[in-house]
Each structure stands twice: as structure tokens, then as C-alpha cells.
């Protein structure tokens, strides 16, 4: 196409004014590259239009450019599509609020610290109390266990088919003194229980004797306190016993019984 035809067609004016189509724009760009005259024509049209618009413009305020350039790096001023400017609402979370929030948190934290400390002290006290309780229960359990063990042993003695029960009765008809002897003819274990006797005179003690082949054999001394209820007092082992007798002897017992002080007697 002839250059002059292009220039006189009005396409270049449309191009500068912004009404040419996308295809026309590509075409004009290509023509500019090939023909410098076309570029010069475009620049002349553009210069005329710039001059024309500038001539009709009022003076721009003195501080306008400075003000504009101060905003170039300011990302908080956003341009919207409709061309108006809006500034985002400034963050209300200033240092003042930050400090206030910090103090509030500190106060709340202190209150909780106090509460937790009090609770911890209470808990520690409760723990030591519980620990003491536990020790007491452990001791009680030990006592119970030993009691149970001795009772189980007593029960074993009583339920042994070889154990014989011998009731000792008062040698004086009017007195209601008595005692029970459990004697095992197989193991020779001898126990005394359910003793009902008056308190012996000062320096004296009751002594049990086993009558073996008509002769008294020492079976040990005993005090009243330990022989009550089911509790059995273990005495010396005896064998081939026909009868048991109790005399009052000097403390610690005698080698031979004092027959005049005999108070209980029972045959096996």
C-alpha cells in the first residue's frame, strides 16, 4: 500500500486517539518499522493533540507533583478501577493498646499464679497427710497380719485331730478356778488357754506340771495377762502325759512342785 494513501486515510489519527482495532495497531507498528515517514507522521499528530489539550488545561497546583511523588512508594494508597482513592482504615492496634493488653495479661497471669500456688500448697499438705495415713495403714496391716498368723496357728493347733483338750479344774470344791490345756500327743506341743485363777501373791507365779508315769515334769510358768480368749500360750513340749497340774511357785518356777500349793488338776 502506498504510504501517502495510508497517511491520508485517517488511520494514524485513529491510532493516536485510541480508536483503531487491535489488528490495525499491529499493522501500524509494522509500517512504522518499515517506513520512518509514518512514525514521524504519528509523532506529529501526537504532538498536536498534546499541545491542544495542554493549551486548554488550567495551572496545576504548585505542590501537586511533590505530593504525587510522595505517594509513589506508598502501598497503603490503593487505586480502584473507578479512579477514586481510598486509604485503608489505619490499624487501631497501636502501642498503647499493646501495652494495655500486656498489663492485663500480666494481672491475669499473676492471679492464676497465686491461685495455682495456693492450690499446690494445699495439695502438698494433703499428700503428706495421705502419706502418713498410708504408713499407719501399713503398720495396722502388719499388726493384723501377725494377729491373723497367730490365730491361724492357734486354729491349726485346735483343729489338729491329735490335739487333746484337757480341762483343769480347781482342787478346792468351792473355788471356780479353771484352765484349758491343748496337748498334741503327736507333736508334743502344749498350750494353755482360758485361765481363770486369782492373782498370785507377790513374788509368786503359776507353774504347769505334766504328770508322766506318776512323776511331775516342768511344763513352764505363765502369767494371767497373756492367757485370755482364743489366744493360746505355748508351754514346754511334753510327752506321755497322763495328767496336768498347776501349782504356785516362786517367780521363775521350781524344779519340783510344791504339792501344798496345787490349785488345778485335770486328767488327759
Amino acid at each position: 500500500m502506498d504510504i501517502n494513501t495510508i497517511i491520508s486515510s485517517g488511520l494514524l489519527e485513529s491510532y493516536v486517539l485510541g480508536y483503531s482495532t487491535a489488528e490495525e495497531n499491529v499493522q501500524v507498528k509494522e509500517l512504522c518499522a518499515k517506513h520512518p515517514e509514518i512514525l514521524l507522521e504519528i509523532e506529529a499528530i501526537e504532538h498536536a493533540l498534546i499541545t491542544y489539550a495542554s493549551a486548554s488545561a488550567p495551572e496545576i497546583s504548585g505542590a501537586f507533583k511533590e505530593n504525587l511523588f510522595s505517594q509513589l512508594n506508598d502501598k497503603t494508597v490503593q487505586t480502584k478501577n473507578d479512579g477514586s482513592v481510598f486509604t485503608p482504615v489505619k490499624s487501631v492496634f497501636s502501642y498503647k493498646y499493646a501495652i494495655a493488653a500486656t498489663i492485663a495479661l500480666l494481672v491475669v497471669s499473676s492471679v492464676f499464679n497465686f491461685l495455682f500456688y495456693s492450690k499446690m500448697q494445699k495439695t502438698t499438705a494433703e499428700l503428706s497427710m495421705l502419706s502418713n495415713d498410708k504408713k499407719q495403714y501399713a503398720n495396722q496391716l502388719k499388726i493384723q497380719e501377725s494377729t491373723l498368723k497367730s490365730m491361724q496357728e492357734d486354729l491349726a493347733v485346735l483343729t489338729d485331730p491329735n490335739t487333746k483338750l484337757v480341762k483343769l479344774e480347781s482342787t478346792v470344791a468351792t473355788a471356780n478356778s479353771m484352765a484349758l490345756i491343748y496337748w498334741n500327743s503327736n507333736t508334743y506341743h502344749t498350750y494353755i488357754s482360758d485361765v481363770q485363777l486369782p492373782t498370785p501373791p507377790e513374788g509368786k507365779q503359776y507353774q504347769l506340771w505334766a504328770i508322766v508315769n506318776g512323776k511331775p515334769v516342768d511344763a513352764g510358768v505363765f502369767d494371767l495377762a497373756i492367757t485370755n480368749g482364743i489366744d493360746l500360750k505355748k508351754m514346754k513340749e511334753t510327752s506321755g502325759v497322763q495328767a496336768f497340774a498347776v501349782t504356785i511357785e516362786n517367780k521363775g518356777g521350781s524344779l519340783t512342785p510344791t504339792l501344798t500349793t496345787m490349785c488345778l488338776l485335770g486328767n488327759v
Binding site: G10, E13, L17, I42, L49, P58, T79, S84
Partner: protein, 181 residues
């Protein structure tokens, strides 16, 4: 902020795409007055035109990466931003104020009023140029330049055959070019 360096358009585009504020300052010095004139001719008020001009230059700066040379002249790209911003502003202002319904004829009259009554031209020579422009030339330039009318729309508006509009626009600009020289 003013710079004495002269850039070619290619250099200017490359530098501004790289974020060079001196180049942008040069761009401002060379085009701000024209863009302000375009905006002022559309909105008809100094203060409002300055607000729009500021937004236009911020848009140009922030969206410069999207300018493509193969799609058109840099001036044309900036002219479109300025013209669209001003027209949008005028439309929203008219909607808000609910003033009389501006017909297209009224718009043309408005432009003429601005030119004949309110504009203070900055040099006598140019004033002479503009007053010497034939009224139909001025109307045609104003419709095409400031109002964003396509040739089809101008043809309908001025009741001219479509084929002659292109020529009329060219003739008007040629007259303008002769007066300026």
C-alpha cells in the same frame, strides 16, 4: 525532581518498567499538562480534575508493567486511562447529584461552554490557534479526543456519512498542526 535529561520513548518505557522515578518524573513533565487538559475538559472543575489526575498518574506508575508497545503509543495508553477515569467520575457524579439527564448533545454543548467561557489558555499564540479553529473541527476533535466517541458514533451524532468522519478528524488535526507550527 525536575530533570534535564532527555529520554527517547523506548528508554523512558524501559526505565519506568524498572521503577526509575527520575524517568517517571520526565514522563510527568512531558504529559501531565495534556492529560490534565483532557480530564479538565471532561469534568469542568480544577479541584476535581486534580484529584483525578493524581489517581491517573498513580495508576500509570503502578500498572506500567502492563503497557505493551505493540498495542499502541504510550501517550494513547495514558490518554485512555485519563479519559476513562474522567468519564467514569463524571457519570458517577451525575448519578449522585441526579441532575438533568445529559444527552449527547448536551455533552457537546458542555465542551463548547468550557472552551468558550472557562478556559484560560496559557499562551496567547495558542489561544489564537484555538479560536481560529473552525467550530466543526473543534467539535469533531473534542468528540474524538475527550469524549471517546468512535467514528460510527461521531457520524451518528453529527449526522455525517461514516466515510467522511475519518477525513474530517484528519482535516481538523491537520488544521491544528498548521496553527501550532
Amino acid at each position: 525532581m525536575l530533570t534535564k535529561i532527555k529520554y527517547t520513548e523506548e528508554e523512558l518505557i524501559t526505565l519506568i518498567k524498572g521503577g526509575n522515578q527520575n524517568a517517571f518524573s520526565y514522563l510527568y513533565d512531558n504529559y501531565s499538562k495534556a492529560l490534565f487538559g483532557v480530564i479538565y475538559n471532561i469534568v469542568g472543575n480544577d479541584a476535581e480534575a486534580e484529584d483525578i489526575l493524581q489517581n491517573v498518574f498513580l495508576k500509570i506508575w503502578r500498572n506500567f508493567y502492563s503497557y505493551k508497545e505493540e498495542k499502541g503509543r504510550l501517550f494513547t495508553w495514558m490518554l485512555n486511562i485519563a479519559r476513562n477515569s474522567a468519564i467514569d467520575y463524571t457519570r458517577s457524579r451525575q448519578n449522585k447529584m441526579n441532575l438533568k439527564n445529559y444527552s449527547s448533545d448536551n455533552l457537546v454543548n458542555e465542551i463548547n461552554k468550557v472552551h468558550s467561557n472557562n478556559v484560560s489558555y496559557d499562551h496567547i499564540g495558542l489561544k489564537k490557534v484555538l479560536t481560529e479553529l473552525k467550530e466543526d473541527h473543534q467539535t469533531i476533535i473534542d468528540l474524538a479526543y475527550y469524549k471517546g466517541y468512535t467514528q460510527v458514533e461521531i457520524a451518528q451524532k453529527l449526522n455525517l456519512p461514516f466515510g467522511t468522519v475519518k477525513t474530517k478528524v484528519r482535516q481538523a488535526i491537520i488544521t491544528l498542526r498548521k496553527k501550532i507550527k
